[in-house]
Amino acid sequence: MTTAGSRMLVGVLVGCFVGAVSVAAQQQGMMRPDRGMVMSKYGYDETVSRVKQAIEGQQMMVLFTADHQQMLSMVQVKAPPMSTIEFFHPRYGKRIFEGNREASPEIPLRILVMEGDKGAMVTWVKPSTTIGKYKGLESLGTELDSTLQQIATSVTK
């Protein structure tokens, strides 16, 4: 490889690195400490499907999916593909109703799948910052953080 060729290769590699850092920085910019987010390896539809499978794999029930793109189209707004998946299991509901029923408006759990410029992404609010902030439910919040992380990670493999 010539010196000019090497310089060009280094330049391209540096450019790729800076670009990657920039994307990561943008993603980090969207992140708040009470949030989790992963980029999916799959397209939007496949990501939604895999998240639902992963939810069921955790022995939880998908209660319903709100298709924001479809709902916004009712008022002639063009939005990117975006869905909220609501899910839960009565065994956790039992712990909440018996542990501290004030937390009841925090259920079911919610995961948002959206199509961004860089591909499909999965975001969620950490249950430790919602359910876990109620007295007596701290450990349940932490437990569910781990469950949601596992569900989300299913789209990165």
């Binding site: 969207m30 708040r32 209660l63 319903f64 709100a66 924001h68 709902m71 916004l72 009712m74 008022v75 707004v77 939005a79 975006m82 909220t84 609501e86 839960f88 009565p90 065994r91 509901g93 039992k94 109703f97 004030e102 009841s104 408006p105 925090e106 079911p108 919610r110 948002l112 959206m114 975001t123 969620w124 609010v125």
Partner: protein, 155 residues
């Protein structure tokens, strides 16, 4: 029981009833609102559904928590949630900060307290939307809408 003792007992019971937080409209926390409706659960459910639709919201989900709890062997009185949405109200959310889609749809929980009273509980939209760009005023508008819905159901 003589008349004097009866009056003391009645006065005591009245004080307990007035001071009991369970039957008063109250804010459970900075973010959760709870209201007691002096109506049996089936009537309150019918009224809140009518109020939701009257405010032009769509009910896009209504999990029945009573049935779900039976799945894990727990008997409880009536309890369900409404997931509600109005497409035109989605526009300001997505225009200002699409990350706030996480907070949609809004949720209203309704459950049977006893044979004559029903409790409605919800998270204030203003608190849910407070940390998103440009949505704090809109959140307060949604607070009023939910207050109106629950208020209409209370009548």
């Amino acid at each position: 029981m003589n008349a004097k003792r009866f009056r003391w007992l009645a006065a005591g019971l009245a004080v307990v009833a007035i001071s009991s937080p369970a039957w008063a409209d109250q804010k459970v926390s900075q973010t959760i609102i709870e209201k007691v409706i002096d109506q049996p659960y089936p009537q309150a459910v019918a009224k809140i559904e009518a109020a939701i639709k009257g405010a032009r919201f769509m009910i896009i989900g209504e999990p029945n928590y009573q049935q779900m709890q039976r799945m894990v062997g727990r008997e409880r009185r009536g309890a369900k949630a409404y997931f509600i949405f109005r497409p035109d109200l989605g526009t300001p959310v997505f225009d200002n900060d699409f990350n706030a889609a996480m907070e949609i749809p809004l949720k209203i929980l309704i459950y049977e307290a006893d044979a004559k009273k029903t409790i409605v509980r919800y998270k204030l939209p203003s608190s849910a939307l407070a940390d998103y760009n440009g949505l704090s005023a809109f959140g307060k508008d949604l607070d009023k809408m939910l207050d109106n819905i629950v208020g209409a159901a209370s009548k």
